[in-house]
Amino acid sequence: MSLYRDQAVVLRTHKLGEADRIITLLARERGLVRAVAKGVRKTSSRWGARLEPFMHVDLQLAEGRSLDTITQAVTLSAFAKDLGADYPSYTAGSAMLETAERLVDGDGEPAVQQYQLLVGALNALAMRRHSPGLILDSYQLRALSVAGYAPTFAACALCGLEGPHRNFHVPSGGTLCDRCRVPGSSTPAAATVELLGALLAGDWPVADTSDDRSRRDASGLVSAYLSWHLERGLRSLAHVDR
């Protein structure tokens, strides 16, 4: 039985047997990991709240045949404490965890960028730096970019003509110029396209001053873009309290 150390964010938990849980983790060096936490549901459990979703932990795991076993856990940041106490942040954070679970592979490869992005986003959410809905949309756009599905908002996604353009087409990968426009494109307002670009680039002064309508339209486009690339929508998106 070989032991290894890794830092991870807890994405999801499933009950296993009488008092155990299977913990799905986004680990820095190993990507998506599923590991067993023994006795975690007992009130006298030494794990306590360390293996709840949103917790950012330093772990020691023992490799197993199908599932690894968690042998030690130390809290790095207790995001669960702040997010559980604020309903909009909790629902936005849940959608982030589901996004990460769907975008990262469980093939044991490092997922440093996705891991850092998720930790950063959860930190921003826990510190209430911006509106939870904006943090979620920005995280999803950037997580898609890291996974290789970066959308284009500043130029035409097909011919590269500098923008901004008003046509948005999900299967083409972003905005299109009038010459490349394909049937089925939507025409979001200029402010919405500007917000999407700001969210992708992390230009928070622009994003924070956007109006409600642009935010609503932008989040609709982000979730359409995400659903297209993930092939089916996220369950948690319907419950996000914006």
Binding site: G48, R235, H239
Partner: protein
Amino acid sequence: MYDGVIQDLIDELGSLPGVGPKSAQRIAFHLLDADPEDVRRFAAVLVQVKEKVHFCSICGNVTEDTECRICADARRDPTVLCVVEESKDILAIERTREFRGRYHVLGGAISPIAGIGPDQLRIRELLQRLGDGTVTEVIIATDPNLEGEATATYLLRMLAPLGVRVSKLASGLPVGGDLEYADEVTLGRAFEGRLSVGGAPAEPRP
């Protein structure tokens, strides 16, 4: 693989939670050896539990009647309502013999990642129950985990405009444990909810 009905029985038993293929086989052969009368009684109970048991029309607890034993008991205090996630939680609280009010079962906790939002729980029924003004205090007793906390936060937001007193079960260090093994969240909670046990009266917390 066994033939016919014995394999069917093993397959059915194996689909139960916590029963693996080996256990299913052991139970199946135990039933085969058991007294026919015992097995018949066991089968009858299985059928009856699906036919007779349903949810209480008031609180959502499991019962054989329209109203559960607790809702029908006139001696229970109608002004205090304890909100729990599952019927199993009622049993746990009843065992303490500390609570003499009534219950409301939500049927789970809010978990967006599992596709469960406020609309899938019995929150609307809870608000309807509070409508007539009989209840003056609501005790939120959801599980002390992330989903339970988020559900409590949501309930608090819904209950605040109604003017009822809302309290939440204390959480902190488990009895029989060691302080040094407590995690940061649990220990932090224990500090937040600390009790004054004497001396000078406590300053109001900021």
